[in-house]
Amino acid sequence: MDRVRKLKAVLWAIVGLGLAVGLTRFAFGLGATTNLTDAVPWGFWIGFDVMSGVALAAGGFTVTAIVYIFGLHKFHSIVRPAVLTAFLGYVAVVLGLLFDLGLPWNIWHMIIFWNPHSPLFEVGWCVMLYLTVLFLEFSPVPLESTSAFAKVRRFLVKMRIPLVITGIALSTLHQSSLGTLFMIMPYRVNPLWYSSILPILFFISAVGLGLMMATFESHFTAYFYRRKPETDILAKLTSWSRWVLLTWVVVRIVDLAARGLGAEMFSLDGAMLWFWVELLLAGIIPIIMFSLPANKVSHQWQWTAAGIGVFGVVLNRINVGGFMHLDRGQAYFPAWTEFAVSAGVVAFIALVFLFFIEKFNIWEERPRDPGEKPEALPEFDKASGATLGAPNVFGRYAYSMVFVLATAVGFALLSNKVIRSEGVDPAPVAEARGGDTLWVDGNTDGYGVFFKHEQHAKWVAQTLALAEMDVPPDSLALAEAMERAGTVSEEAVCAACHHMNLPADETSGCYQCHADMYSTTDAFRHDWHASPAGAALACAECHTPGEVKNAESVEHNCEHCHKDLVPAQATLAVENYGAPAYAAAMHDMCIGCHMEQAEVRNRAGLAQCATCHGTMAQEFVDADLKSYERELRGKGVILPMPQLEEN
């Protein structure tokens, strides 16, 4: 059992890692835990968990067809493992889908809200029904060990043939409909993969994959439980799969040729490379390997060939599912978190599979559970000589430990960026530059605003004067307000836009508190206020004794103490210790006033984006800024900037 125990420890570790990421996905959303974008809304979780998962579970209907429909009973020994693999495979698909769906708690909506035009609706229903069929097909096995449901069991056994036939028909539908899903995307799927016979290609390859997967799974468990592999039976299975795969290769190439894309197969680009890799792995290599004499005698040979074939078909599903889609301006490669969740789901299902293998008669003889060996000697740690207890107890300790450790590692690996669900790195704000004409461009992407400071002061004075006069704002009143503007106090003008300066600093830039372009920042220096070298405030001077000490439990804001720093007549209040994002703060202040004035002065143009972000901004964008912009774009940062040149 040593191999199994090692395998289980590894599986538990993977489940732990996946659990950490999976929980994070539900706590912080898809943006935080995937590399998906608006251009690539389906990624690895669809390509692998769903598309490949369904295909990998195809062994269920192929093997039941061989044994129960075609009556080839010598394959009987692989029926139970195949049905179990299929059942758990579909459970894995649904489990994986729950992570991928944005609103997984609505998954049942497909039952009540119908759209029969949708291939996905059909796939969803087929998967639901087939999962039920597989459950019914498999449940006689665990029911063997109890006499409680003998009647139910007998009924299910009687129902076997109808169930098998329904299962095959349902599989035919959804295995092929997974191909239909992509037929509505002729302008998205690469022409080498897009075809109007995608459903047929998907069905053929699913049958081939089902046979190979049954082979692979059989050898896999034989290795870990040190059983004698059923090489002769499996040789027969693989020799059939060869013909299925050959059909797939031929149909695929004929279809390409018929669509006039024969030359594309040799076009020497990335897509062509993947096309051939896929064709070799999913078709040509396994076909050749299954045809050679070694296939009849060597289980390693079978195992390798089936493994290559399985990988090849999975690659095909991933390619169709998104990897080989045409570029829409955003490249996609799965994040490690996506791999972690998929691997976690697979590992979890593998553990359940091993549980069934050990507890029920999946094979004709059940592998011995180490716990069932009372005579087994306790194990010792090789280094310290400390006793580890009986083998099964040791196993449980080891599994729990790796599981907890891996979960912790998973959480540790998730970056703060992910936890904050920001999706983008912090964007520190740069100081406004220039003399009287300020270049206000927080994130220095060139899409900023020229701000004429002195002129704005005049306009603000005029506005204040106008407000004081309290007359309809016609042109006469405006002219008078302009004359009166000089009498408005300087302090009042400044206070219209500036609220509070830092201590001992009369011209603090906005950027000092609104320090991030798009996220709120902490404007309060807590440590400095508490330290003896700074303000030396005791806790109780701000926090109510006995209450939780956090920002929310402090009732007053900066102005409470720094009265001298707030200009009289200030219009902008400091509501809390968090400064809004720079872009939000600037926009609120400018746009708010502009919109108001656009109405007051009846000048609609005042409130348009282009009024501030006009051509002036572009003129400023010199060669340096352009190159900076290009560098940023290269990093995948999206800039709200006018296109300067056609790319």
Partner: protein, 274 residues
């Protein structure tokens, strides 16, 4: 063609690229009316300016400003693929979204050839977002926020039939100014959001450089979907038939399959021994 004749009585938008001055009044009107929060650049956004919080945007090209928004296809791919009918065409015409039904599969985003629907990637409860042609305002008898905000009538509202006629009239009057196509008249079965482009301008960038067919996209899956019941019955029938033949032959040959069974699994072979 009766579908199209009906469609020509539904609300539509005509955007004349030659007239647009790029002021983005439409963008801010859209944000105000639909209460979409302020946006910030995110990893998952495209350069076209659309996002779950920006349902329309201005793309600046050398030949002019192009306002991007949902095209409100006459036969929308997004509607045909939505497994729960969350995206649907109202009887007035706009393609709208019912967030209560949605399960978040994002098939609509994959299927749309224009790449219009966007996702709330940063939300724990995310929805699909796109222009809904101000369906609520239309019901109140108002026109969409964007067209009413346009200061130069570059983007105008009307029935599809009226706007098509107007578009062709403009092309006819100024054949030197305009490209001879009305974009959206035929493409993918026709759209409710139509474009007039200046001469020499190619709007294929709206479909990511792909030249699209005139056939509506849902037609591509129609044959396969119609085959579904036949495939189910056919495959089921074939399997039942083969099973019957095989079993009968085995019976005639006296080959009792139960002999091959292992003793500890008595139910195998289809019949239970009591």
């Amino acid at each position: 063609m009766s579908v199209k004749a009906d469609a020509n009585n539904t609300p539509a938008i005509l955007t004349d690229i030659t007239r647009c001055i790029g002021c983005r009044e439409c963008v801010s009107a859209c944000k105000n009316v639909n209460n979409t929060e302020p946006d910030k650049p995110r990893r998952w956004q495209l350069e076209d300016g659309l996002s779950s919080r920006n349902w329309t945007s201005i793309i600046e090209k050398e030949q002019g400003y192009v306002r991007k928004q949902c095209r409100h296809c006459l036969e929308p791919a997004c509607v045909s693929v939505c497994p729960v009918g969350a995206l649907h065409t109202t009887k007035e015409g706009p393609v709208v979204y019912d967030s209560d039904k949605c399960l978040g599969c994002r098939y609509c985003m994959m299927a749309c050839a224009y790449g219009i629907p966007r996702y709330d990637w940063d939300q724990v409860v995310p929805y699909v977002r796109k222009c809904i042609l101000c369906a609520d305002r239309l019901k109140e008898g108002k026109e969409p926020a964007c067209t009413s905000a346009c200061p130069v009538d570059a983007t105008i509202f009307g029935t599809r039939g009226e706007l098509l006629a107007e578009a062709h009239r403009r092309i006819e009057e100024n054949p030197d100014t305009y490209d001879s196509r009305v974009w959206g008249e035929q493409q993918l079965g026709g759209t409710r959001v139509l474009y007039l482009a200046p001469k020499g301008m190619d709007l294929h960038f709206l479909t990511y450089g792909q030249k699209v067919q005139d056939e509506p996209l849902p037609a591509t899956t129609r044959t396969a979907m119609h085959a579904v019941p036949f495939a189910f019955v056919g495959m089921g029938g074939a399997m039942a038939g083969i099973h019957w033949i095989v079993k009968r032959r085995q019976k005639l040959q006296g080959d009792n399959p139960q002999h091959t069974e292992p003793p500890q699994t008595p139910e195998d072979g289809g019949e239970e021994k009591s």
